[in-house]
């Protein structure tokens, strides 16, 4: 994902770290692996990121096809349009999640042809043996997409894992309800294991699962510690790179490779910090990417920010971990792997609740932003509104308003485009907005505020 393949433009996106530049080949090899897995008869499951089943499917040697990833790859290669158009021809509205439209369009086409569509990016998206969705607040497409895909693959079974987390409310503390949330998740994960056993003919190795859960815990801690290194001034790594290093976090969790990757990245960042090596030599503005999935076809915009002296030491997007040892319970005492996963899930999503209760009128999402702004010495905040994703891009305006109300008036920028659908993207307009924002940052800086 570090290269765009357009004949008219040979723009290669620069990464600040060695580690990030290795990601493109890793993803390509992984996707190629899934296509081979089909040929080798290994069980393949369409999967969504951050749905608690990473360790479970890895333990059972099931090969995940991350459909969101494949759509992102098509988007980054600027070759998603034909799949979006095919989905539209199937009567899906263009206002739906464009990851789903890309995937559904691809599946419809592949099933019609009986083989991969011509020149499918990186070999294509392998036909699955099962599809794993999820229910609850993560997003609607997670329980509708694969159900819709069954129209083209009526023989492929679907399992939806219910994954709720307690809402943030004023009149009760989440701890009053966390018990039944955990109970539900555990039942759902049990159901998932039964489903996988049935459709693969394999048995769950519970000891091995415990090992992978422990590995994931250690990986979480390592990732958190590594990203915290970016607090340094100048920052050694920006959000542009993080959009690469998210791959081990969300597509490889529970594997030794993911842990090793972050070990390497950790070493690299420490080395850079020791030599005061920043993303750019003259760091003028430190920004937080406060929300929104990136435009996969426009990651070079991060380089544009860099060219104006702006860096992104921190982001909320894809930072799907906290340090386990910072939770208010000792997770190591929970030895049953499914319970462990469930508690880790609930504690992650409620992590900022206590802090929000301490500041009148605040909210956990805003507390997270405030913490990062303080820790990473942030001058301004950028949000990205991707039009097709209601799940992660609704509430960003409100977060900015609330942030300014309960904390301080901080310069902010909202970019508008989409994750995969390039027809929504206007390069000239985007650059103009960035330029105007830089002017604002400069004005604020020179006023010494």
């Amino acid at each position: 994902m570090t290269e765009e393949k357009k004949p008219e433009e040979r723009k290669k996106r620069k990464t600040a770290t060695e580690a990030a530049s290795k990601i493109g080949p890793i993803v390509k090899a992984t996707i190629g692996g899934t296509v081979r897995a089909r040929e080798e008869g290994k069980p393949i499951a369409y999967s969504f990121i951050c749905c608690c089943y990473d360790e479970i499917i890895r333990t059972m040697d099931i090969v995940p096809v991350w459909t969101e990833n494949y759509a992102g790859v098509c988007g980054a290669k600027r070759d998603a349009q034909r799949f979006l158009e095919r989905a539209e021809a199937e009567n899906f509205s263009r206002s739906l999640c464009t990851y789903a439209l890309c995937g559904l369009g691809f599946d419809a086409w592949r099933e019609e042809l009986g083989e991969m569509p011509p020149e499918s990016p990186w070999g294509g998206q392998a036909r699955p043996d099962m599809m794993l969705g999820s229910g609850q607040i993560l997003c609607d497409p997670r329980n509708k997409w694969f159900q819709a895909a069954q129209r083209y693959m009526p023989d492929v079974p679907v399992y939806d894992v219910g994954l709720p987390w307690p809402p943030y409310e004023d009149d009760y503390d989440y701890r009053e309800v966390q018990g039944y949330y955990v109970k539900y998740i555990v039942e759902e994960l049990k159901g998932l294991v039964q489903f996988l056993e049935k459709h693969t003919g394999r048995k769950m190795d519970w000891d091995r699962l415990s090992e992978l859960v422990d590995l994931a815990d250690r990986t979480w801690n390592l990732i958190w510690e590594t990203y915290e290194l970016r607090r340094a001034v100048p920052t050694p790594m920006g959000t542009g790179d993080a959009m690469n290093t998210m791959v081990p976090i969300v597509f490889m969790m529970g594997t030794q490779e993911a842990y090793d990757f972050f070990k390497e990245l950790n070493d690299e960042l420490k080395h850079k910090i020791a030599n005061k090596e920043g993303v750019i030599p003259d760091e003028k503005y430190r920004l937080i990417w406060g929300g929104g999935l990136p435009s996969w076809f426009a990651l070079t915009d991060f380089n544009y920010f860099n060219s104006k002296g702006a860096v992104f030491p921190v982001e909320t997007t894809y930072r799907m971990v906290e340090a386990i040892y910072n939770f208010d319970i000792d997770l190591s005492k929970i030895t049953d792997p499914l319970e462990h996963i469930a508690w880790r899930w609930v504690k992650f999503w409620t992590y900022w609740y206590d802090r929000a209760k301490k500041r009148p009128g605040s909210h956990p999402d805003v507390e997270r932003l405030i913490q990062y702004i303080e820790d990473y010495k942030i001058d301004g905040i950028v949000m990205h509104e991707a039009f097709s994703c209601r799940s992660w891009h609704v509430g960003l305006i409100w977060q900015l308003n609330l942030l300014k109300k309960v904390y301080r008036d901080i310069p902010s920028l909202i970019l508008e485009s989409d994750i995969v659908d390039i027809s929504s993207y206007n390069e000239a307009d985007t650059k103009a907005r960035i330029d105007a924002f830089i002017d604002t940052l400069e004005a604020v800086k020179s006023k010494g505020r």
């Binding site: 008219e8 600027r78 539209e88 021809a89 027809s423 929504s424 206007n426 307009d429």
Partner: protein, 280 residues
């Protein structure tokens, strides 16, 4: 004793009128302005002159198109979908799918036994309509009528990523400045329209033969771009702007015949042509 039928297609860009008995006797095409009623009368009068007939001889008048409610002397208003379906079935009986690309809208119609059985329309968004070419042509400083011709001389069509007409115009102007050859850009624009139209009509599960009508059918570059998309040739009637009006007249004929067969009274408009002109 010959019966005569009239069809008026008041589109957003062009107004068309035909008078028929067994064949088309007269046809008129003119630009639609803001004064729909006046214009409807005008083209009707012109057609009558061409056919050498008084209005009283017209047995039935059907109005269609965007402005069909503004034809007070029409006996019935029928949508462009039904009219295009009827018109194409008459002109090109082998057609099973109709693609109509107009100045401000585009549509797809599925035909079975000479009638529409399914349809899709785009009238929300300029992309996929003549308007897209009009605006981008202006942006490039090219005459609209030359766009199709020029696109055929392209070596490598440029991929246009923006479907929004305004953004696309910015995009092509920028590409021209960067040195992309003009024909390549224009070819890319035609491909962009073809892509939009193709995915819209794709909802109907396209069946051959495919007929192309409307102003878009007169653009040779667009015809080619669509044929490339489809992978086979399309049929274009001799005068692609008239299919709606012809279909309207024929539907009028069908209504009259049905009324006679069933022994029912024929419901006609009370206002006649001369009265209408008095009010406008």
């Amino acid at each position: 004793m010959s019966q005569y039928f009239a069809g008026i297609d008041l589109g957003s860009t062009m107004t068309k009128a035909v008078i028929m008995n067994q064949t088309v006797l007269a046809s008129v095409i003119g630009p639609t302005g803001p004064e729909h009623r006046k214009l409807a009368n005008q083209v009707m009068e012109e057609a009558l002159v061409k056919a050498n007939l008084p209005f009283a001889d017209i047995t039935y008048v059907v109005a269609t198109g965007y402005g069909r409610i503004n034809v007070p002397f029409a006996d019935k208003q029928i949508t462009e979908i039904s009219c295009h379906a009827r018109g194409v079935s008459y002109l090109l009986p082998e057609a099973r799918t109709v693609i109509d690309i107009g100045g401000q809208d585009s549509k797809g119609i599925k035909l079975k036994d000479g009638r529409a059985v399914d349809f899709v329309m785009n009238d929300k968004c300029a992309a996929g309509t003549g308007r897209f070419l009009e605006v981008t042509a202006e942006g490039l400083g090219v005459k609209l009528e030359d766009m199709g011709k020029l696109s055929l001389t392209a070596k490598n069509a440029v991929r246009i990523s923006n479907t929004c007409t305004v953004f696309a115009t910015q995009e092509v102007v920028a590409k021209l400045a960067e040195g992309a050859p003009l024909p390549d850009i224009i070819a890319g624009l035609h491909e962009a329209i073809a892509a939009r139209v193709y995915s819209m009509v794709g909802r109907l599960k396209i069946e051959r033969e495919v007929a192309l009508t409307g102003g878009g059918a007169k653009n040779i570059g667009l015809v080619k771009a669509l044929e490339t998309r489809l992978g086979y040739p399309v049929l274009v009637p001799p005068e692609p702007l008239l299919t709606g009006a012809i279909g309207a007249a024929l539907l009028g004929k069908d209504i009259v015949r049905e009324a006679v067969e069933k022994g029912e009274a024929l419901l006609r408009s009370e206002r006649r042509l001369t009265e209408a002109t008095f009010f406008t």
